[in-house]
């Protein structure tokens, strides 16, 4: 079985977000880039499966749509333990554009299990996994919180309202994963970092594709207002403030 993990290159989750060009572009200055946390958990689970299923998993590949700047993120995935990496050499524009490029790059490569994180921590589009399955004409299972493999059988646990369900699927398929699929991402070892130097990172040129959406502008959430303390004796003032300032009553 061959596993493909879709990797999004995202700003570190503690990044201070700023916008430039009249709030139409994200300011990437000084940003540290990481593997999208969901994708990192997907990779962790794929490697666990590879180690524990006694040869059932032939290889684990990671793929990213991005310019050369995203290669450190892919090499980190290789250092963590992926066998090889694919980079589709273009600036990702929207979910349709990314999903189409991934499908074009891998449609003839025979991946049996394709895993995408439920969303990326930067744009939260939550669309690539489903679109990718559609382009490839394979089933997709969303909100997967656990993946198990026995021989050629895959069982996927999904969170549903008030409980969970277990789903079996034919191969190939796309699993869109969320919390629970793995507990903690792996830290690359010195050996892994050294071996990453020699693992293949294949660059694929983009195909003709258009983005279907465009970013018009960004807005930062309103800054949190300062907390105002009211003396417990002074209920009148509290009611007055709730009425005139907070405007909730």
């Amino acid at each position: 079985m061959k596993i493909l993990i879709c990797i999004s290159n995202v700003p570190d989750t503690t990044t201070k977000i700023r916008f430039v060009n009249d709030n139409t572009a994200f300011d990437t200055n000084g940003v540290q880039w990481i593997i999208n946390p969901w994708d990192e958990l997907a990779l962790t689970r794929a490697l666990e499966l590879k180690e524990t299923t006694g040869g059932a998993i032939e290889k684990v590949t990671v793929i990213n749509v991005g310019t050369k700047d995203t290669e450190p993120t892919l090499r980190k995935a290789l250092a963590i333990g992926a066998d090889d990496a694919i980079r589709v050499n273009t600036e990702p524009k929207d979910a349709f554009f990314v999903a189409y490029h991934i499908s074009e790059a891998v449609k003839n490569e025979g991946y049996d299990m394709i895993i995408a994180g439920i969303d990326s921590s930067d744009y939260n589009g939550a669309a690539v996994g489903g679109m990718l399955a559609e382009f490839l004409g394979v089933p997709s299972v969303s909100s997967v919180s656990s993946i198990d493999v026995e021989g050629d059988n895959v069982s996927l646990k999904r969170e549903i309202d008030g409980g969970s369900e277990v789903i079996g699927t034919q191969l190939p398929f796309v699993a869109i994963i969320q919390k629970g699929v793995a507990i903690e991402p792996r830290i690359p070892s010195m050996r892994g970092i050294m071996m990453a130097r020699k693992k293949p990172l294949n660059v694929v040129e983009p195909v003709e594709a258009d983005a279907l959406t465009e970013f018009v502008s960004y807005e930062l959430p309103q800054a949190k207002a300062a907390c105002k303390m009211v003396d417990p004796e002074n209920v009148k003032e509290l009611i007055n403030l709730l009425h005139t300032e907070a405007k909730v009553i």
């Binding site: 450190p72 090499r75 830290i187 690359p188 070892s189 010195m190 050996r191 970092i193 050294m194 130097r197």
Partner: protein, 380 residues
């Protein structure tokens, strides 16, 4: 000049940071308080390859450069210097010494398990009456033909109990003074070796320190490192390298105290505003940051010299002297910024201050560093 780190160096720094901030942080206070050895963390460090980072991969090491080692030491020491001292001793005193001075057989037998972290190493140089003056070795290794017979005592030995492979320095030819000293690889379970009680230290309490007694201990001839009488030179070369590890440790302690102080001063309010807005605190932060940056640059310069096969003894002494002294200053200020909270364990900075003190003492006191530095500068 190039101040950029390579992609790999950054990956290693991040790996060390993740390890420290995800794992070490959880029980660092408790381990320090109870003086409990971090066995599970050492196991993780071994799996990650931090125990023999710079050793050639053909001896199961990580094959990384010294700059990466300094970056990793800094990140781990920001959180826990008990763990980083185990790492430093194993890497730069024990593994380095065997890789540099050992025979192929010694490397095969001892370096490989040490570099993998399957075994922990200890470095037995100090004695009850011989610390800074390492020429005065009282412990005797008598040449008995097929073996050496060792009698005497070693003091302040990091990882004496948790470790199982010792690098031992002992006097074979007392008349030759320091030119009579030999270095040996000794397995801890050799008959005749016994440990003194666990030292109840001020800081770095989660790392074990003991004295080690040798009574008629037979050390096989093939376990001697280098030529007969080369022991003192081996010790000095090991300390040259070791000192850089401790410099990076002191840097990490200071950098950790600075990070905590910045965070705290932006949260804590006094006189109606965050204390970071008071110049008295803001200026302390500025002074601390300059010191930390200076220490970092000295450490990285020494590491760069070592990686480029240039003499680095002077640079590593300067780095150790400066980083240890500013670690003490910066952690003291960090406690001051935290006020009463700084004086209790929960906020970590009192522990960093206790840890900083040791960096001025071990692997060459600050005073010894000044001797090393001034002698280099003043010799004709």
């Amino acid at each position: 000049m190039n101040f950029e780190f390579t992609e790999e160096q950054l990956m290693i720094r991040q790996a060390a940071r993740d390890f420290a901030q995800r794992e070490l942080i959880n029980d660092v206070i408790e381990r320090d308080y109870k003086a409990k050895f971090p066995a599970n963390h050492v196991k993780t460090m071994s799996e990650l390859g931090f125990m023999g980072m710079m050793i050639d991969p053909k001896y199961d090491g990580g094959g990384m450069d010294t700059v990466s080692y300094v970056l990793a030491m800094e990140e781990i020491s920001k959180i826990d210097s008990s763990v980083s001292v185990i790492m430093s001793v194993n890497n730069s005193l024990v593994c380095y010494t065997i890789e540099r001075f050992g025979t192929e057989e010694q490397k095969e037998k001892y370096l490989k398990p040490l570099a993998r972290g399957d075994k922990i190493g200890a470095f037995l140089l100090s004695e009850p009456e011989s610390g800074s003056d390492a020429t005065m070795q009282r412990i005797i290794a008598e040449d008995k033909g097929d073996f050496y017979l060792v009698n005497g005592i070693k003091n302040w030995i990091t990882s004496a109990n948790s470790g199982s492979i010792y690098i031992l320095f002992a006097q074979t030819h007392p008349k030759k003074k320091h030119r009579g000293i030999n270095a040996f690889i000794v397995e801890k379970d050799t008959p005749g070796i016994s440990l003194g009680p666990h030292e109840d230290k001020m800081g770095m309490r989660s790392s074990d320190t003991h004295s080690v007694m040798f009574t008629d201990v037979k050390v096989p001839k093939e376990n001697r490192l280098g030529e007969d009488g080369l022991g003192f030179k081996i010790a000095m070369k090991a300390l040259e390298a070791g000192r850089l590890g401790i410099a990076a440790q002191a840097l990490g302690i200071a950098a950790g105290a600075l990070e905590r102080s910045i965070q705290y001063s932006k949260e804590r309010k006094a006189f109606g505003t965050e204390i970071a807005n008071h110049q008295a605190i803001a200026f302390k932060i500025a002074d601390m940051a300059v010191k930390v940056e200076n220490a970092r640059n000295l450490c990285l310069k020494a590491a760069w010299l070592k990686d480029n096969k240039k003499p680095f003894a002077l640079a590593s002494s300067m780095a150790k002297l400066y980083a240890a002294d500013i670690a003490m200053e910066v952690t003291t200020e960090a406690v001051q910024i935290h006020g009463g909270y700084g004086y209790v364990k929960e906020y970590h900075v009192e522990r960093l201050m206790r840890e900083a003190k040791l960096t001025q003492i071990y692997e060459g006191t600050s005073e010894i560093q000044k001797i090393v530095i001034s002698r280099v500068l003043l010799k004709d």
